[in-house]
């Protein structure tokens, strides 16, 4: 049943689940998975892989920005934390922590670094959530931005650990157990592409399970009407912190993938501009919808490469800025809800 004005389940396609709705996502994933076999073009795969990493970031940001309605503008902090954690775990380190004490870590397998990245980023998500959700609106936004800035300064200046601006280099590629081959490093473009695709699908499923549960309902309730939500016993901080931890953990996973794919990490992974990129993906696609970050991520993950060779690099960012302004002003709910209502009207 649809509301009189036809907006009832808009942006929440999961409610109106027809058979097509059920299988279309899996067909989409299957097509993406078969892509490297049909078109083994390394350039295209490279573009899709880095787009995929940012889509994972956007999926995680959407949990905070879209479902809880908290404009977290320090999201890149978790991405960067994940990247550095994973890279450092796989490279090993030996640092002094004062009083003549040293912490030494031998190089660890990459998958351990990946898990460490999720845990460390999630832990910082918990910390930031505990601190920052006591304030809202402009204050929250500014705290989150400052958080990412402080981490960038640490990455720049704690040279013993991070090499500072000289960057962490020679980060090993992701390695994993493959049937019949044992544990092998993933050097080929197609293998990395599949890895990112698999993690993206996992991240999507985690977010979907969460938002379609009692916890997700609590998050949406808090966004829709916080006073009312509290009056029926929904604990604000508790649920916002859960969302922050999961969101940060997924962003950390994306950061880890980034580190082992690019294989060089410098403090610029903490730049505000990367948060903005993820925000644009979520806003244009449709915040608070499951597919929004995927659609927005595909568009803005591919645009830079379409522009390459035709325009100066600044043009890309000017375009992003203009897109952000136009979408917020004229299509604030994003592409996915707009398409959904178009289809319903047709």
């Amino acid at each position: 049943m649809t509301a009189p004005d036809g907006r009832s389940a808009e942006g929440r396609g999961e409610l109106n689940r027809s058979r097509l709705h059920h299988y279309a996502p899996w067909v989409f994933v299957l097509v993406l998975a078969l892509l490297p076999l049909a078109f083994p073009d390394p350039y295209m795969l490279a573009v899709l892989t880095s787009a995929g990493i940012f889509i994972i970031g956007a999926i995680s940001l959407n949990l905070l920005l879209g479902y809880t309605g908290q404009l977290s503008l320090g999201h890149v902090a978790f991405f960067g934390l994940g990247a550095y954690t994973s890279a450092l775990a796989s490279l090993g380190f030996d640092i002094g922590i004062g009083f003549g004490l040293r912490i030494t870590l031998q190089p660890q397998p990459v998958w351990l670094g990946f898990i460490a990245a999720i845990i460390v980023a999630g832990g910082f998500g918990w910390l930031l959530g505990r601190l920052a959700f006591r304030v809202r609106g402009a204050y929250f936004v500014i705290i989150t931005i400052c958080f990412a800035q402080v981490l960038r300064m640490v990455a720049l200046n704690w040279i013993e650990l991070t090499q500072g601006p000289m960057a962490l280099i020679s980060i090993p590629p992701f390695s994993m157990w493959l049937p019949g081959q044992g544990v092998v490093p993933l050097y080929s473009k197609a293998q990395n592409y599949w890895l990112v695709l698999a993690v993206a699908v996992l991240a999507f499923i985690v977010v979907r399970q969460l938002v379609e549960s009692r916890i997700g309902r609590a998050l949406v309730a808090l966004r829709a009407n916080e006073s009312l939500a509290r009056s029926v016993g929904i604990r604000v901080t508790h649920y916002l912190v859960i969302a922050a931890v999961i969101s940060a953990g997924i962003a950390g996973a994306a950061g880890s993938l980034f580190a082992h794919y690019i294989r060089i990490i410098d403090p610029d992974v903490f730049l505000f501009i990367y948060t903005v990129t993820m925000v644009i993906m979520v806003i244009t696609g449709g915040k608070g919808t499951l597919w929004g970050p995927v659609v927005g991520g595909l568009i803005f993950g591919l645009v830079p490469d379409l522009l390459r060779g035709h325009a100066r690099p600044e043009a890309q960012w000017v375009l992003y800025g203009v897109a952000m302004i136009l979408f917020v002003m004229f299509l604030p709910r994003g592409i996915v809800p707009a398409l959904a209502s178009l289809r319903r009207r047709a």
Binding site: L131, R134, V135, Y139, I145, C146, I273, V279, V318
Partner: protein, 290 residues
């Protein structure tokens, strides 16, 4: 002790320009409820305009400062008329996003126009520092301090004595009542954003010759402006003035005595601490229930 005095002088010079930045930002927030992410870009814009007038057009240095500030005023007015005027009814998050979009456009537009290489702005002050007792200070920095002080004073007089200032203060306190009393909110907003932007551009024009001019110079400064404003309480003009000097001193002393590398980080840590530990003190209870 001598070094402490030296830091005091440096902190004051830095604090004066920070206060200019902070006042502009807090005025815009107080009157318009806009968290202005373009503030840092206006600062960079002021610096570039000074460079353009002095180095490319051969304009007199002092005239170039004034012209650059006016360019900032004009750009601010344009931003308000083109973007913010259409968003008067939008929620604060949407306005923030639009301003982030605008700052992306401005910053990369600057990069496009001027290239990524930092520029030096020639100035008429000779390089040898004035030495007064244990303290030495470059004449250019003294000039910057004097102009900042004059601008701050002029701004306060404008708020206190002129019709526009009264209208702004009225809107600052209560937009609805101000509108009922016949204040034209639209124009107050335009004037506010233009003046706030002009102050940011002036700060950039003044500091451009002290440091270097580069397209990303606005990044950090924009965030620092937030730090200043939050230290003083978002929307408080005296607070922003004090906050500006406070951040100047914190950076000078912490940078001097604790760690040069983390100099820029102290401001941000301070914001996180202030907001996380004492949000009640800073956030007025605006929520109305029932």
């Amino acid at each position: 002790m001598d070094q402490a005095l030296q830091h005091l002088v440096n902190g004051t010079v830095l604090g004066g320009t920070y206060a200019l930045l902070g006042i502009g930002l807090t005025l815009i927030f107080g009157v318009m409820r806009v968290v202005n992410f373009t503030h840092g870009e206006l600062y960079a814009f002021g610096a570039y305009m000074t460079y353009a007038f002095v180095s490319l057009l051969g304009v007199n240095f002092f005239a170039a400062l004034a012209l650059a500030t006016l360019c900032g005023v004009a750009l601010g007015a344009a931003l308000e008329l083109v973007l913010l005027r259409r968003m008067r009814k939008a929620d604060i998050d949407s306005v923030m996003l639009v301003m982030i979009g605008a700052s992306l456009v401005l910053q990369n537009g600057e990069m496009w126009a001027w290239g990524g290489v930092a520029k030096l702005v020639p100035n008429p002050f000779n390089g040898s520092p004035l030495v007064i007792g244990p303290v030495s200070v470059l004449p250019l920095r003294l000039f910057v301090l004097a102009v900042s002080a004059a601008l701050l004073l002029g701004f306060w007089l404008m708020l206190d004595r002129t019709r526009a200032g009264v209208a702004m203060r009225a809107t600052f306190q209560d937009p609805e009542t101000a509108a009922l009393m016949g204040v034209r909110i639209g124009w107050v907003n335009t004037a506010t954003f233009a003046i706030g932007s002009g102050l940011a551009a002036a700060a950039g024009a003044l500091l451009g010759p002290v440091f270097m001019v580069s397209p990303t110079m606005g990044d950090l400064v924009g965030l620092k402006a937030f730090a200043i404003v939050i230290l003083g309480g978002l929307g408080s003009l005296p607070g922003a003035t004090l906050g500006g000097f406070a951040l100047g001193f914190v950076e000078e002393y912490a940078g001097g005595y604790l760690s040069t590398e983390y100099r820029d980080a102290f401001g941000f840590l301070l914001i996180i601490l202030v907001l996380a530990l004492k949000p009640q003190g800073l956030v007025p209870a605006k929520e109305r229930i029932g």
